[in-house]
Symmetry: C2
DNA sequence: TATATCGGTATACTAGAGTATAGCAAAAAC
DNA sequence: GTTTTTGCTATACTCTAGTATACCGATATA
């Protein structure tokens, strides 16, 4: 048995809290359709059917569900206009924009990571 | 029909590429155990059993699987020492540390988001 | 001989995320 | 009438992430 030892880690609460906070953010933006939806709303307000047309292959069920979650997290605002048939608009809130910094960092890292890893055939080239 | 219209969004390729890059990052760090593992490796090298002890309730199967993924993404390095029984050490790579900026932003946002949302009873208080 | 340790793998299961399809109410256009 | 539009919901399914449990070979320890 070789004496390999070094930094025999006490593991602090800190790390668990860190993980929780990161996971909270993760929960808000993960799911197959949240990013496409937020992406589509960058260009301004959109109605339900517009979002559907904008996001290929999304089902009404998923669009509805994800919009509801985004709304609960206050990233998206839903406005109902009393027309017939009902007009309902979705838009990114200012708070939703507070995520931009996070998303920007993730985009930067993801971009370079793809370049780095793609050569070894790990990521789907698409 | 009320003429509600404004920013009739042409939707660019840009947004899809953005979503892809963010998702690449998401794929690397999501999964139930990746953050706890990276957290445990902050304190230095660890052996398999040490990680198991450090991360309550993780199964050998998941630990092994997640470590393999982290290794494929070059965030973690696996070193085999020719002892008996074999000694195997895992450690965060310098490249793994390049994620720190992203994780920091996610932690910051997640922390304030929990404070913001918890009052409305959306997040599990834990 | 039996048991423990190390670093896992194999097999089978469960639960949750996502899909597919049909339908609804109310009015408008044909 | 019948069909179309809007913004969804209900039901049933599939597929994948994660869990539970047992086991492996080699060696050391009792």
């Amino acid at each position: 048995m070789i004496p390999i030892k070094q930094g025999q880690g006490e593991h602090h609460v800190c790390s668990a809290e860190f993980a929780m906070a990161v996971r909270d953010t993760l929960d808000v933006i993960s799911g197959k359709w949240k990013l496409p939806i937020l992406g589509s709303l960058i260009n301004g307000k959109k109605r339900f059917k517009e979002l559907q047309k904008d996001i290929p292959r999304i089902t009404a069920r998923m669009l509805s569900k994800e919009l509801r979650e985004l709304e609960m997290n206050q990233l998206v605002k839903r406005t109902v206009y009393d027309t017939i048939p009902a007009t309902i608009e979705y838009e990114k809130t200012p708070y939703g924009c507070s995520l931009d910094k996070v998303l920007f960092e993730m985009k930067e890292w993801g971009t370079q990571h793809r370049k780095r890893i793609i050569h070894k055939g790990k990521l789907k080239a698409e």
